[in-house]
Every structure is written in C-alpha cells, then in structure tokens.
C-alpha cells in the first residue's frame, strides 16, 4: 500500500516537472529570435538609417525612410477608416444583444477574424487596384483596415458589456438623449478598453505583409502620394530579406529591429493600460 502511494506521488511529481519544463521551454524560441534580431539590427540603426532611402545594389549605406513614412501613412489611413466603423459597430453589438442583425453581424466579425490575410489582399486587388489601374497606398490601407475591424469591434463590444447597466440607466432617467448617453457616458467609461483594443489592432496590422503584396506593393523611393505604390516596413523586410545581397540583408535586419521594437512597445504599453484600468480583453 505504501509503495503504491509512493509510486503515485512520484508520478505526480514527474508530471509536474514535465509540465513546468515544457511551459518554460517555449519561451526559448521567442528569446532567441528577439536577441538575434536585436543583435543584428541595433548596429544598423542610426540617424542616417532613419532618414535615407535604400541604397542601390553595390553601394553601402542607405536607410529605410521610405518604409517608415509609408508604414506611418498607411497605418494612419487604415485607422481613420477602421476605428470609427469598428467602435460604432461594437456599440451596436453591445447595445442590441439578441437581435437578428446583431447575431449575424457578430457571426461576420468572427468570420472576418478568421479570414487569412492573403485572401483580404486578393479581394482588395479586385476592389481597388484593378479599377484604379495601379497599386496604391489607398488599397493597402483598406486591406489593413479590414484586418483591424474585427479586433476593434470585439474589444469595444466586450468592454462596453462589462459596464454596469446602472450607469446608462442613471443617465437616461435624467432625460439625456440616447446618443448623448453613449457619447458622454458609455464611451468615456469604456475608453481605456477601447483604446487598448485599438492599440492591439495597430500592433497587429503594422507587421502584416501578405495583404500588402498585391495592394501597396512597395516603392524604392520616398513617396507620400496615396494613389501610387508605397513602401512599408514589413514589405521592405520581405523584398530585402529574400534578395541575394548582403547589404540589403543588413538593411532588412535594421528594419526588422525597428518593426519589432515598435510592436513590442505597443503590446507592453497596452498591457500596462489594461492592468491599470483592470480590463479583461
């Protein structure tokens, strides 16, 4: 009897050891990737790197200013489209649970969340690139806006659902019209949750490459024309990483470093907000 208990206890301990080992082992790839990118990238980054366009093959130096500007413009444009639509649709979903429209919209948000990003790229190619006759920053922004939407909608909906109904009821009982209740009471109360959803969605789209392959395409020159092809950080990394030249690889390592830092900072900042305001996403 004692021996059996001994075996069972040993089994339990061994199992725990295995679980702990596996759980911590998986952080290893992340740490290795982070350290490697930092090691390769940080030596590339300097003022010249941030303010110059990539050098042609055979020349040293050059930077990624075209991709920085392009990523910034495209992310701002997609945010302008996706944030208002996402917040309003999220409000509808949280305010009208149980209606048929809310059910089917919710279903479509789930579908949108699962659509592979490359498929979004194909669709936008036919919606915008083909009618315009050229790759453009606009088409890239729309593709990324579609990727942003489900995240913004879901985070808005879930934040607003957590607010106590008494808040809204109190405002309504004072005779405040519905739209003012939403704008002046509901949105400010859920602001931190909505904001962290927006930041997460930006962190997600800034690294997206696949939808940009057939939309914003890429451009080796500094350009701010939104109806022309535009370079972005992830697309620059893709083209330069798969090129055969060492100098271009170095450029891509530098760009990866900047992209990675941006994404990580955005994520950590979001974590801090959600911790401070005690939000569950």
């Amino acid at each position: 009897m004692d021996a059996r208990i001994g075996i069972r206890n040993t089994k339990s301990t061994l199992f725990k050891g295995l679980i702990v080992f596996l759980a911590f082992l998986i952080t290893l790839p992340l740490i290795i990737v982070l350290l490697y990118i930092i090691k390769q990238g940080i030596t590339q980054v300097n003022w010249h790197f941030l303010t110059h366009v990539p050098a042609p093959v055979g020349e040293t130096g050059g930077g990624i200013s075209n991709a920085l500007l392009g990523s910034f413009i495209i992310v701002v444009m997609s945010s302008i489209v996706a944030i208002p639509v996402g917040i309003l649709a999220g409000i509808y979903l949280s305010e009208n649970p149980g209606t048929k429209l809310a059910y089917y919209s919710g279903l479509c948000v789930d579908i949108l969340q699962g659509v592979p990003s490359i498929v979004v790229g194909i669709v936008i190619y036919f919606w915008i690139v083909k009618p315009l006759g050229t790759f453009s920053a606009i088409s890239g922004s729309v593709a990324l806006a579609i990727m942003m939407l489900p995240i913004v909608i879901r985070s808005t909906e879930q934040t607003l659902r957590l607010l106590p109904p008494s808040l809204k009821e109190a405002a309504l009982s004072l005779g405040v019209p519905y739209h003012r209740v939403i704008i002046k009471v509901i949105i400010p109360c859920g602001f931190a949750g909505i904001l962290s959803g927006i930041m997460l969605s930006i962190a997600r789209i800034i690294g997206e490459t696949a939808p940009l392959l057939f939309t914003a395409f890429g451009n080796p020159y500094l350009s701010s024309a939104i109806t022309k092809p535009m370079e972005t950080l992830p697309h620059l990394i893709y083209t330069y990483a798969t090129s055969p030249y060492d100098e271009w690889h170095n450029l891509a390592w530098g760009a990866s470093f900047i992209l990675l830092m941006f994404v990580l900072l955005l994520n950590i900042f979001t974590k801090l907000i959600t911790r401070k305001w005690n939000i569950q996403l």
Binding site: R8, K11, S12, F15, K16, I19, F21, L22, A23, F24, T27, P29, L30, V33, L34, Y36, I37, V85, A89, I91, Y92, E95, L101, S105, L107, C108, I111, L112, G114, V115, P116, I118, V120, G121, I122, V123, F126, L149, P177, Y178, H179, R180, I182, A203, G207, E208, T209, A210, F214, P234, I237, Y238, A241, A252, W253, S256, L259, L260, V263, L264
Partner: protein, 304 residues
C-alpha cells in the same frame, strides 16, 4: 419660449434616431463586407471553375506554362505543414494551459510567463520568416545531413517548426482561462478521495475541459492554414509532388497561401489568375468553417 424648448427636444429626438440608424448601418456594413469578400472570390474564380471543373482539386500537376492547373500539391502542402505544426505545438500549449491554469495561476512568475507567451503571437510573421531563413535553415540543413535526407534546409519541416511556435499562444491563452474555470468543488472532491495532483488533472480537469481545449487547437489550426509570410519564405516554393514520404516532409513544397503570394502578381492570363483565386476561395472556406466550429464550441463551453 415654450416652443423653442419643444423644438430643441424634437431636434434631440431626431439626432437620437439618426444615431441609432448610424449604429445599425455600421453593423450592416460588416455583413456587406463579408458578403462582398465571398462574392468577389466566387465571381473572380468563375473562369477557372468553368474551365477546370471540380477535378481542379485533385489534379496533381501545376504547370502554368503548359496551362495545366491542379491544386493537389498545395492542398497536401497546406495540410502537411499545418498538421505537423499542430502535433508539435499541442504538448506545449497543453503544458502551458495546465501550468498557468492549475499549478501556478497567480503571482508575478505566472503573469510574466503569460505575457511572454502572448508576445509570441505579437511578433510579425515576416520576422519569424526572416529569422528562420538565416538561422533555422542552416541548422535544419546540418540535421538533415545527419539523418540522411537531401539537405535542402528549407522545406515543409522547417516551415512547420516555425508555424508551431507561432500558433502556440492561440491554443494556450484559451486553455489557461478554461482550466481556471474548472469548479473547485470538483477538484476538492477528488483530493478528498486521496487523489494526487496528477490524478486530479488527468481524471477531473482534463475530462471537464476537453472540448474547450479542442476548440483552442482548432483555432490554432485555422491560424496555421492561413499563415502566409513565414511559410512563403521557408517552404521552398516548388509545385512538384514529392515521391516519398521523407521527401514530402523534409523536401521543399508549397501551400495554398504561399503559391498565391508568389504567383499572383505574375499570373498573366485569365485561367491562371482565376485558378489562384479559387485556391483563395478554398482557403477562405476551410479557415472560416474551422474558426466557426471552434468559436461555437467555446460559446457552448462558457455558457454551461
């Protein structure tokens, strides 16, 4: 004075209706968007559906120069990479779920580990692809030479390894919250009967959360199927069908997403382009169905 007040409240009421309409329009917009995506994919893949028919799906040759299109190599490539990735990732995602859900649900170490695992999902896939191409590929090449297969370095196995790491957070973060939801009377009952910690996990927690953990695995499968950039950079992009199982696993291949990424801008005639879009349509259906089943299971589970 009185009239002015009335006017004001009328205008407020008008605004209220307009606001409600705007909310409604926005959520109708989401419906229209998804319908539009589906319709565009179907319409644009019509030329290929018409000229190639259903046998497109199991045609073994993809040769745009000869105008022969078969999706079989990409279907196999997609399934193979995703399932190998899934098999590698499951022990890890279950281990993380059990560790952070049961053994160590609170405290700074638990928080740190949870946040670290969420960061895995935050790193852009292009960066995994780039790192894989320059660091992992040489390692795999040495490994392949040791076990005696053709040392390509790039290929299905390499992409599956990177994919496995990328999809772990999706199954894990769901698993953690589900295991934390197991009612403690159930666990305490088992402890009172003299069960060890391992026995409680095996006979109480696992059966209770089985369907939810399965849903998490489905969600990560959906991610793996549609993942494009890392796979495109690592899989080697060849549309030939491998002859042996060894070649199929360690040799280069292609997935539906990677062939679209590589050939879409080069496709120079209607059927070629539309065959690629048909691949996109198949990908869309498969990922959507897997995601919806996963979400349905989760909703059922959390509404108990």
């Amino acid at each position: 004075m009185k009239n002015k007040r009335l006017d004001l409240s009328y205008s407020q009421m008008k605004w209220e209706t307009i606001f409600k309409q705007i909310l409604k329009i926005m959520s109708v917009l989401i419906l229209v968007l998804v319908a539009g995506i589906l319709i565009t994919l179907i319409v644009e893949s019509m030329p290929s559906i018409k000229s190639l028919g259903i046998k497109f799906l199991w045609g073994k040759v993809w040769d745009p120069v000869q105008n022969i299109y078969g999706a079989y190599p990409f279907l196999v490539g997609t399934l193979l990479t995703s399932f190998i990735a899934l098999i590698i990732s499951i022990p890890f995602s279950y281990a993380i779920s059990i560790y952070l859900g049961e053994y160590n649900p609170k405290g700074w170490l638990s928080n740190l580990l949870k946040n670290t695992i969420e960061l895995i999902a935050a790193v852009p896939s292009i960066i995994y692809g780039f790192w894989g191409l320059f660091v992992l590929v040489p390692l795999i090449r040495t490994f392949e030479m040791k076990i005696g297969v053709a040392p390509y370095g790039i290929g299905v196995f390499t992409s599956s390894l990177v994919l496995a790491v990328m999809i772990i957070p999706y199954a894990a973060s769901l698993g953690i919250s589900l295991i934390r939801m197991v009612p403690s009377p159930l666990k305490e009952g088992a402890y009172a009967l003299g069960a060890t910690h391992f026995e409680v996990i095996r006979s109480v927690i696992m059966p209770y959360t089985r369907s939810g953990l399965f849903a998490g695995v489905l969600l990560s499968l959906g991610r793996a199927l549609g993942e494009t950039m890392a796979v495109t950079m690592l899989i080697g992009n060849t549309s030939a069908v491998a002859n042996t199982i060894k070649d199929a696993i360690f040799g280069p291949g292609n997935t539906m997403a990677s062939v679209i990424a590589n050939e879409f801008t080069e496709a120079d005639h209607t059927v070629y382009l539309s065959a690629l879009i048909e691949l996109g349509l198949v990908l869309f259906f498969v990922t959507v169905i897997i995601n919806l089943i996963g979400k349905r299971i989760i909703t059922k589970f959390t509404n108990y």
